[in-house]
C-alpha cells in the first residue's frame, strides 16, 4: 500500500508542475537576457500594499525582476516556502523571524515590511473592548480574557507590553487564540473581555461601538517595525545581485507607498475584498524604507522577558548589514 501511495503522490507531482511553474532551485540564475523570475509569498493584508504598488509602478520590472506575488495563509506556509524554494522572498512579522533565527533556520531579512504609525490612538491595530465595557485601561486586563490571532507571537508580546506600561501584571492576563474575523462577535457576546485586532477589523469593531484602550504597537517600541521581507541564506549567498536588486526595488516601493497613501489604498482593493468605501476609513501602517533596528532590539528584549525567546537573538546575523 505504501508503495502505491508513493506512486500516487509521485504521479500527482509529475502531473502538476506545469500548473504552478516553479522549481526547487532558488539560486539558479535565468538565461542571459531574461529577467529573474521571482515569486514572493505574502499575506493578503494591508501591510503588503507597497509590493503590489511597486509591481504596478514597474519598480521591479525596471530592475529586471519578473515579480509574482502569491498570497499564502501566513508564516506557517511562507517560511517553509522560502526554505523549499517555492518563494525566493517572503513576508513575515518580525517575532516569527526572531523565533526562526533562534531555532537556527537559515533565514535573512532583506528589507523592511511595515511599521506602526507610532501615534498613540491612531495605529493600524489596537487593544479593544466593547462599547459598554467598564475596562478603560490595559492594567484592568489582569485576570481577563484577551483574544489575539496567534498565541506566543507578536500580538502577545505587544499586548503584554501595553499591560506592563499601564502598570499591570501581564502574567495575569489570559490569552485566547482567535482569528481576527471572529473577534468582533466574541467581544459583543462577552466571550472575551478584550481583543487585539488589526485593520480592517479594528475599524469594523469601532464602527460597531467598540473602544480602543491602548495602542499596543506603540507601547512596545517607538515606530516599531512589525514585519519584514526575508529570504533564505542560500539565496542570499548565491544570488547576492538578485537580493540587492529586490531590496532596492522594495525600498523604492515602500517610499512610494508611504508618500502616496491614496494609491496604496486603491491597490489594497485589488488584492483583498475590501471595498473602496471601506478602505478609505482604515488607518494604514507606515512604510519606512529602513528597518527600525532599535525597535527590534526592544521587541527581542520584551520577548525574552516574556520567555517567548529563550536566548538573545543574533540581530546582526538576521538583519542586512547596515
Amino acid at each position: 500500500m505504501r508503495r502505491q501511495l508513493a506512486a500516487l503522490l509521485f504521479a500527482a507531482a509529475l502531473l502538476t508542475p506545469a500548473a504552478c511553474g516553479t522549481t526547487n532551485q532558488p539560486s539558479a540564475p535565468p538565461p542571459a537576457g531574461q529577467p529573474d523570475k521571482v515569486n514572493v509569498g505574502v499575506i493578503a493584508i494591508l501591510d503588503v500594499a507597497p509590493i503590489y504598488l511597486g509591481k504596478q509602478k514597474g519598480f521591479f520590472a525596471s530592475r529586471n525582476i519578473d515579480l509574482t506575488l502569491t498570497t499564502a495563509q501566513g508564516g506557517a506556509v511562507i517560511v517553509p516556502g522560502v526554505q523549499g524554494g517555492q518563494f525566493q522572498f517572503g513576508f513575515s512579522n518580525v517575532i516569527s523571524l526572531l523565533l526562526a533565527q533562534s531555532q537556527n533556520l537559515p533565514l535573512k531579512i532583506v528589507c523592511n515590511g511595515n511599521n506602526s504609525t507610532g501615534v498613540d490612538g491612531q495605529d493600524f491595530g489596537s487593544l479593544m473592548v466593547k462599547g459598554d465595557s467598564p475596562i478603560t485601561s490595559a492594567k484592568e486586563l489582569e485576570g481577563k480574557k484577551v483574544a489575539i490571532n496567534t498565541l506566543r507571537n507578536i500580538a502577545e508580546t505587544v499586548v503584554r507590553a501595553s499591560v506592563k506600561k499601564a502598570g499591570g501584571d501581564a502574567s495575569k492576563v489570559q490569552f485566547v487564540e482567535m482569528p481576527f474575523p471572529n473577534m468582533a462577535a466574541a467581544l459583543q457576546s462577552g466571550q472575551v473581555d478584550a481583543a487585539f485586532p488589526v485593520e480592517p477589523f479594528q475599524t469594523a469593531i469601532r464602527d460597531a461601538g467598540g473602544k480602543s484602550i491602548a495602542s499596543s504597537w506603540v507601547d512596545a517600541a517607538p515606530n516599531l517595525t512589525v514585519a519584514a521581507y526575508f529570504t533564505s541564506t542560500q539565496t542570499m549567498e548565491t544570488r547576492k545581485d538578485l537580493v540587492d536588486r529586490f531590496t532596492a526595488a522594495m525600498k523604492e516601493s515602500l517610499a512610494y507607498a508611504d508618500s502616496h497613501p491614496d494609491e496604496a489604498r486603491q491597490i489594497i482593493t485589488t488584492y483583498t475584498q475590501i471595498t473602496a468605501a471601506q478602505v478609505a476609513k482604515l488607518t494604514l501602517p507606515k512604510w519606512p524604507a529602513e528597518i527600525n533596528r532599535d525597535s527590534l532590539q526592544k521587541l527581542a528584549e520584551l520577548a525574552m522577558a516574556d520567555g517567548l525567546l529563550k536566548a538573545q537573538p543574533d540581530l546582526n546575523a538576521l538583519l542586512p548589514s547596515a
Binding site: 502505491q4 502531473l15 495563509q73 475584498q273
Partner: protein, 268 residues
C-alpha cells in the same frame, strides 16, 4: 443485498418538493437577520448574498479561482479514480493479496486527510500539489473500497462458467469482473467526487493554494462578509452540480443494468 446504493427515482414531484425546500431555507435565511434573530453583519440576508454573488461573477479573479478549483478537483479526482480502480481490481483478483492488504487499508483509510496538511505544506508549500495530496488521499480510499466490494461480488455461477470455458486473466477481468464491478465503480466515482471537492476547498482555505477556498479566506480576512457567503454558495452549487452530473452519467453508463432498467420502467 449486493446491489450498490442507487439513486432514488427522479420524478417531478420530488424535484418540486426539493426546490420548495430550498426556497424555504432561502426565505428563512432572508428573514432571520431582518428580524434581528441573528446579527446581519455576521449573517447577511439571502438577498444581500445573491446581489454580492452577481458582483463577484463580474470579477476576473473569481473566474480564475473557479478554474483553479475545477482543475485541482479534476486532477485529484482523476488520479484517485484511476489509481483506486486499478488497485481495487488488482487486489481483488490476485489471490491472497486482499488478505495481505486488508489490515493496512483499514489502518490507512480512516486517517483524516486534513491531518496530512502539515506534511503537505512541508513537502510542497502553498502549491497545488499540497491540496492534491489531500484530495487524492481522501478520494482514493472511497474508490478503492467500492471497487473491492464490486470485484468480490462476482456471481459464483458466472465465475465457475468462466473457469469452465478457461477464460484467461484479461478475459476474466473484461467480461466477468468489470461488468460486475462497474456499478460499484460508478458509485465510487460519485462518492469520490464529493469527497474530492470537500478536500479541494479545505486545502485552498487552510493552505492557501489558488482557488475558491483561498478566495473565501481572503474575503474573511478582509472582513468582507457578504462576498464570503457568496463564495461559499458557489462551492455548494459546485457540489450539487457534480452530484447531478454524476447521477446522470451513472444512469447512462449503467443503462443496461437491471437496477437502472427497473428504475426507468417505473418512472414511465
Amino acid at each position: 443485498m449486493s446491489q450498490p446504493v442507487r439513486a432514488g427515482r427522479v420524478g417531478q414531484v420530488p424535484a418540486l418538493l426539493g426546490a420548495a425546500g430550498l426556497v424555504a431555507v432561502a426565505v428563512a435565511l432572508e428573514l432571520a437577520p431582518r428580524l434581528g434573530l441573528v446579527p446581519a453583519e455576521f449573517m447577511p440576508p439571502t438577498s444581500t448574498i445573491l446581489a454580492e454573488l452577481a458582483r463577484q461573477l463580474q470579477r476576473p479573479e473569481f473566474w480564475v479561482a473557479l478554474r483553479d478549483t475545477l482543475v485541482t478537483w479534476g486532477i485529484g479526482l482523476g488520479i484517485a479514480v484511476a489509481a483506486g480502480t486499478v488497485a481495487g481490481v488488482v487486489i481483488g483478483t490476485v489471490p491472497g493479496l486482499r488478505a495481505a492488504t486488508s489490515s493496512t487499508i483499514e489502518f490507512l483509510r480512516p486517517i483524516p486527510s486534513v491531518a496530512l496538511i502539515p506534511l503537505a505544506v512541508l513537502l510542497y508549500g502553498a502549491r497545488i500539489q499540497s491540496t492534491l495530496m489531500l484530495v487524492i488521499y481522501a478520494s482514493f480510499w472511497q474508490m478503492l473500497v467500492q471497487v473491492l466490494h464490486g470485484v468480490v461480488d462476482v456471481d459464483p455461477v458466472a465465475r465457475d462458467t468462466a473457469r469452465s470455458y478457461r477464460l484467461g486473466l484479461f478475459a476474466r477481468i473484461r467480461y466477468l469482473v468489470w461488468p460486475t464491478a462497474l456499478p460499484y465503480v460508478v458509485t465510487g466515482v460519485r462518492l469520490a467526487a464529493t469527497v474530492a471537492l470537500i478536500l479541494t476547498i479545505t486545502g485552498e482555505l487552510i493552505i492557501g493554494t489558488p482557488g475558491l477556498g483561498k478566495e473565501i479566506a481572503v474575503a474573511s480576512e478582509s472582513n468582507a462578509v457578504p462576498p464570503m457567503y457568496a463564495l461559499v454558495l458557489v462551492t455548494g452549487l459546485l457540489g450539487v452540480g457534480a452530484n447531478l452530473a454524476f447521477r446522470a452519467a451513472e444512469r447512462r453508463v449503467l443503462a443496461w443494468h437491471p437496477a437502472i432498467r427497473v428504475e426507468a420502467a417505473a418512472a414511465l
